[in-house]
Symmetry: none
Subunit: 213 residues, 4 copies
């Protein structure tokens, strides 16, 4: 009768799900993140979700479809919209300086990532093994977000706040730095001597200086 607390949050915007279906999604998410997709058995998921194994296949034709059902909304409904929102703010010149933009993104992302850490872990782990995922990623995150980020970067380059190198390089560096920060933070999760405030501060400084003209 294990009821996952994050269940309601994760998938709650989708009305069409039944109780059991949400239990399945929550259980699968947790297990995929913990042991990997291939190493998780459907019987395990069923047991953890408190449903019969057949029930899983009533909702998802295959185990892979279950994986996609978990990861796709992450890309389609969650990452996309949020990033777009940030970016729109910039393009509407709500952010006057690059630093403000970076800070807002990190902050926004931090909340988001904390909530969806296991989802992200699954995405990162499995993306290289499943071409469909890669395609979806390129489709939803890659193209759109990348294109919009390019706009932002060019916007700040035009304002003389960012060094004049290809936007893709900027994105790569900023992305690596932010992702690296998040990964470290969550891998060294248990570490006690981690001063989040200060680390963010340093990371932003590093980015700002590194990308300054």
């Amino acid at each position: 009768m294990e009821h996952n607390k994050s269940r309601e949050k994760l998938f709650h915007d989708e009305r069409k799900f039944t109780e059991k279906q949400m239990d399945i999604l929550a259980a699968a998410t947790e297990l995929f993140a913990e042991k990997g997709f291939a190493a998780t058995s459907t019987s395990e998921i069923a047991r953890k979700a408190g449903v019969a194994e057949g029930t899983i296949f009533r909702h998802y034709k295959t185990k892979k479809e279950l994986l996609l059902s978990i990861v796709n909304p992450l890309m389609v409904n969650l990452i996309g919209p949020i990033v777009k929102e940030d970016i729109n703010k910039v393009l509407d010149t709500n952010f006057n300086h690059f630093e403000e933009f970076i800070l807002a993104m990190i902050d926004n992302r931090r909340v988001f990532i904390e909530k969806n850490l296991s989802l992200l872990q699954i995405l990162i782990q499995e993306i290289s093994f499943h071409p469909e995922l890669k395609e979806q990623f390129i489709e939803h995150i890659g193209k759109e977000i990348f294109g919009r980020l390019q706009q932002v970067i060019r916007h700040f380059q035009a304002k003389g706040e960012i060094v004049l190198i290809p936007a893709s390089s900027v994105i790569r560096m900023a992305g690596s730095t932010v992702l690296g920060y998040i990964m470290t933070r969550n891998i060294i999760a248990s570490a006690d001597n981690w001063d989040d405030e200060a680390e963010v501060e340093r990371t932003v400084q590093f980015l700002m200086k590194g990308l300054s003209p």
Copy 2:
């Protein structure tokens, strides 16, 4: 009778291996990298290595032991020594400036990574699922390398070439950046518009500026 070209390179320094054993290691490496450890079957490995399935288990008691046999030497014999070498050069004041050090590391690493890309992929993919790997990593890379890198960073901080923030933060940022560069480079491997020279140049510049006092 598929003979893997990288076989000789990967494990050739270890004399104790038989022909078949090396075929097994090469096949397993390739498949683990391509499909993941859990999704690769021993029968597949045997087929690709051109040996009987039983032969695998004559050399490696379990599939997991095979994984460790692939990944452990990477940590013990390859990553460790090379990094140490670089660092010793610095501590012997062969590098007068931080930039030279970073460049040397990237360069060194680039060759190494190109040679051992699939090994690294396996390590990165599997490390979170196998506590033994994590421990070994902390033991061999974590503790030693981290400690030595700290020395280097403090060395350059003392010379006023690096900003005065905790060495661990510097390592994280530099690490993320370098790793991010490598990952992007190899994921976008097929991309045609990738100017390696220039990208390295930009990355180093980014790092230098980002970490400057």
Copy 3:
């Protein structure tokens, strides 16, 4: 679609079994008795039972659990109760003489053994290799039955019908004789010149005289 005739008899008092489960039990019983536990493969059992191999493991987690599922009820539900019944009759002084008791036991046992010969064979063969079986045997047959038999023997010793030696010795001798009779009878099963009536008569006489004061 081989339907074992003894299936219904062997396990029919247990309502909880499905059709297939009973087929599995019957097939396993026959094969274990015929070739021994270790020499019987689960695929063989499945084939004989007319089910898929996986079905066996849906009902019994391991091959050993299947063995225990066959042998345990023999000890818990069959041997125990029947022997107790006999003994209770004696203690209720339904048997005035030791001879009557022995005859009743042999007779009772004979029917029982004929019905469950293969089960008994399995028990005898495997008991020395499986500590769990030994423990269960001591628990259910050893302790209880032994204790009750002691009472009976002392009862008849008090009446002056049995020689005054330790009850355990009496049990050993009577047990060996009865078991020896049964084993011979069933090993030399095919022999034509076996007069059961007369052999029982002789065996009882032998026991009576042997144990007389």
Copy 4:
């Protein structure tokens, strides 16, 4: 480097064996007795004997041949001759009374069984699974010994010391009793309250009385 102490005794009369061969026989004997023939692997035997697995198959074409090589001499060279000897003593009227004969047999057997307990265990366990063994047993023990025992029994029946029932029945009863005594003794081996002298005395008394006219 495990050297079995009983090794020399067990097979020492056969000069043709090499060192290793005797190690193999000793190891196999111990393991077959402990876990049963089918549950013992040749690799286990090789390990315990301190030889390579191939060496076993140099001497014994199959695992089964190894079993037969262990059990056959027991029947051909050991049981047979000893029993014959006893019997010859009787027929040469060295034993004037049945009791003397029984006592001599039990005593003789006791030494023998103690020495060859594991061999006997193997024989008893495996005889029902291997037709060859059964045949050999009937050939060497069954026919010959049985025939000679019949003579003895008739001899004592003629002297009026044994009840006039078929010799086969007498053999069965005496055999069960003796075997039962031995088995109990060795199964309850560790029991502390086992007074061997007294038990033999009782067992002989039981037999004598049971078989008296």
